[in-house]
């Protein structure tokens, strides 16, 4: 489903991604781990074109992201087409980014009603189902400021799921949470993975990676250092950089 070929990304003179190549199959869960500054969040944001790829190609289900290919030439994609590509990709942020001026329910129905032009009543029904799925059925009319961090993140997951995406991206979803609240969010992500969603998760939660991920990728300084089955990589890291990183975390 996701095919990255030598993806490069620079911010000004600093090159953050130096040729990332990897593949994610449909229904697979891939965890990206690595030290801060390794480029994992940047790569994640390239997948839904929040950041522009400078070199290399990124395909989702055969569609090139961010550009249109005609023969040899690449054409910049119009904002409208880029927005259409993003409809099928859900994203969950480290700092939740819920709309503070809308209730939890209104947050979830915002995108379906505005972007997909779904009827409000249908969107509300679906939103209530999603809130129930993440365990927050009674918080439909609460504002984000009235919810705990874990609850906000679960609403954020429901908001992303409301668009029926084929791919979910998670950018360090539990890094901003108190340790007691992390478990609730991971439980929702576990259930999502079990239901067959394709997920790319940037995380420091090794327990989650070991149990739920199908592929673990370790990135450092803009390159993929090691990739493979999470249990194997965590138990027997082949590369020295991986060993150093894991020895600090585990």
């Amino acid at each position: 489903m996701i095919r990255a070929q030598q993806v490069c990304k620079s911010f000004g003179t600093q090159q953050v991604l130096k040729g990332i190549s990897l593949e994610v199959s449909r229904g697979e869960v891939m965890c990206l781990i690595g030290p801060s500054g390794s480029g994992k969040s940047t790569f994640l944001r390239c997948i839904n074109h929040l950041e522009r790829v400078n070199a290399g190609r990124l395909y989702i289900d055969g569609d090139l992201i961010g550009y249109r290919e005609k023969g040899d030439k690449l054409y910049e994609m119009s904002p409208r087409d880029a927005a259409r590509q993003r409809r099928d990709i859900g994203m969950v942020f480290q700092h939740f980014n819920l709309f503070p001026h809308r209730t939890a329910l209104e947050n979830i129905i915002e995108a379906p009603t505005q972007v997909k032009k779904v009827r409000k009543a249908d969107a509300i029904t679906r939103a209530k189902e999603l809130l129930d799925r993440v365990g927050l059925a009674d918080k439909a009319d609460a504002y984000p400021a009235q919810l705990s961090g874990g609850q906000q993140q679960r609403v954020a997951i429901a908001r992303a799921l409301a668009m029926d995406p084929k791919l979910m991206l998670f950018d360090e979803p539990t890094s901003a949470l108190d340790p007691e609240l992390v478990g609730d969010v991971l439980a929702v992500m576990r259930e999502l993975a079990a239901s067959g969603m394709t997920m790319v998760v940037v995380t420091h939660e090794m327990g989650f990676a070991r149990e739920v991920a199908d592929q673990l990728v370790f990135m450092d300084a803009g390159v993929v250092v090691e990739a493979g089955n999470p249990r194997e990589v965590l138990a027997n890291p082949q590369q020295e950089r991986t060993q150093v990183f894991l020895s600090r975390i585990l």
């Binding site: 929040l50 904002p79 409809r87 994203m91 980014n97 709309f99 009319d141 504002y143 984000p144």
Partner: protein, 323 residues
């Protein structure tokens, strides 16, 4: 040995207090309040000065209080107030709409739009309002005729003779509105910038267009930062309308007060009448601003909104009835 160790001394203090008072809490502190003589002295001086001023104003013949009361509810004054209010509202509407446009242009990735907006702000904030109004008054003599058509010799579709229009009110509104839009643009830009980048990213990631992101996500949140200075601008505009005497437009509150005093040679009480009504309207606007700010503070803190409190009351009533 003095009690250098803070933990030891508080333990020593807490233990006997716990033993002396109730077993769970220490006795409440009853300290003698601090004397603040400075405050009393200042308060007395101010009260004396205010009383002296009021007494002086009440007995000073120059204020001509009888004339003041005669004209306070004069029907011409009320008509003047209506004109002032019309000018204020129209100028603010133009100012806000044009201001939002200019602010969005300032934030545009298009360099031509950005520069055009900057140039407009530079000119309209860099010259006095009075001078701008004088310019608008002279507009008909600079541009005697306006034609809509193809430039440089082509055919034209419509033709307006500006010099013949008696458009003092129109030019007053345009002059005030365009000037206000320059200040509103900066207020709106500050408001838009105050909304965190994460909000824009979340909307974009959900597939919303730039326009939808601005209109549905960013601008509503920017209102909280925009409303207080905008309320200030509205209150200020109410008084700035008195400058339309430059056009000259004399049907506003100040103009009417001036006209009356030119006939009865009593400027002081008439100006006080005008000042009184400006003050009354400003006070009403301040109340309106309070409610507007409250509406746009939804979701900012944890307090339950009125609607949520009502829902809570209803559910408790239902569960009470069910018992």
């Amino acid at each position: 040995m003095s009690s250098l160790d803070p933990e030891k001394s508080t333990d020593a203090a807490a233990a006997p207090a716990a033993a002396a008072g109730s077993p769970t809490e220490p006795a409440p502190i009853k300290a003698v309040p601090l004397r603040r003589p400075g405050r009393w002295v200042a308060a007395i001086i101010i009260v004396i000065l205010v009383v002296l001023f009021l007494y002086g104003a009440a007995t000073n013949g120059a204020y001509q209080w009888k004339t003041y009361w005669d004209y306070l509810f004069d029907v011409r004054i009320f008509h003047g107030m209506l004109v002032t209010l019309e000018l204020t509202v129209l100028a603010m509407v133009i100012g806000v709409v044009l201001g939002v446009t200019l602010a969005v242009m300032r934030l545009s990735p298009n360099p031509v739009l950005r520069s055009a907006s900057w140039g407009y702000l530079w000119i309209f904030r860099g010259t006095p309002v009075y001078v701008q109004l004088l310019f608008w008054a002279l507009f008909p003599s600079i541009y005697k005729v306006i034609e809509l058509g193809i430039p440089f010799g082509g055919p034209h579709f419509t033709h307006w003779n500006i010099q013949q229009l008696q458009a003092a009110f129109l030019f007053a509104t345009i002059g005030l509105g365009l000037n206000e839009s320059a200040y509103m643009a900066e207020i709106v830009r500050a408001g838009i910038n105050s909304v965190g980048e994460g909000q824009r990213e979340a909307s974009t990631a959900l597939g919303m267009s730039w326009g939808q992101t601005m209109w549905r996500t960013v601008l509503p949140q920017s209102m909280r930062v925009i409303i207080p200075p905008t309320g200030n601008e509205l209150i200020s505009m109410l008084k700035t309308t008195s400058l339309v005497t430059a056009i000259p437009l004399t049907t506003d509150l100040y103009g009417v007060a001036q006209t009356i005093s030119a006939v009865n040679f009593r400027p002081i009480p008439l100006l006080l009448v005008a000042a009184t009504w400006y003050l009354v309207i400003t006070s009403v606007l301040m109340i309106g601003q309070y409610y507007l700010e409250r509406h746009y503070s939804r979701g900012v803190n944890r307090q339950l909104t009125a609607r949520q409190l009502r829902a809570l009351a209803e559910t408790t009533a239902v569960t009470e009835a069910g018992k």
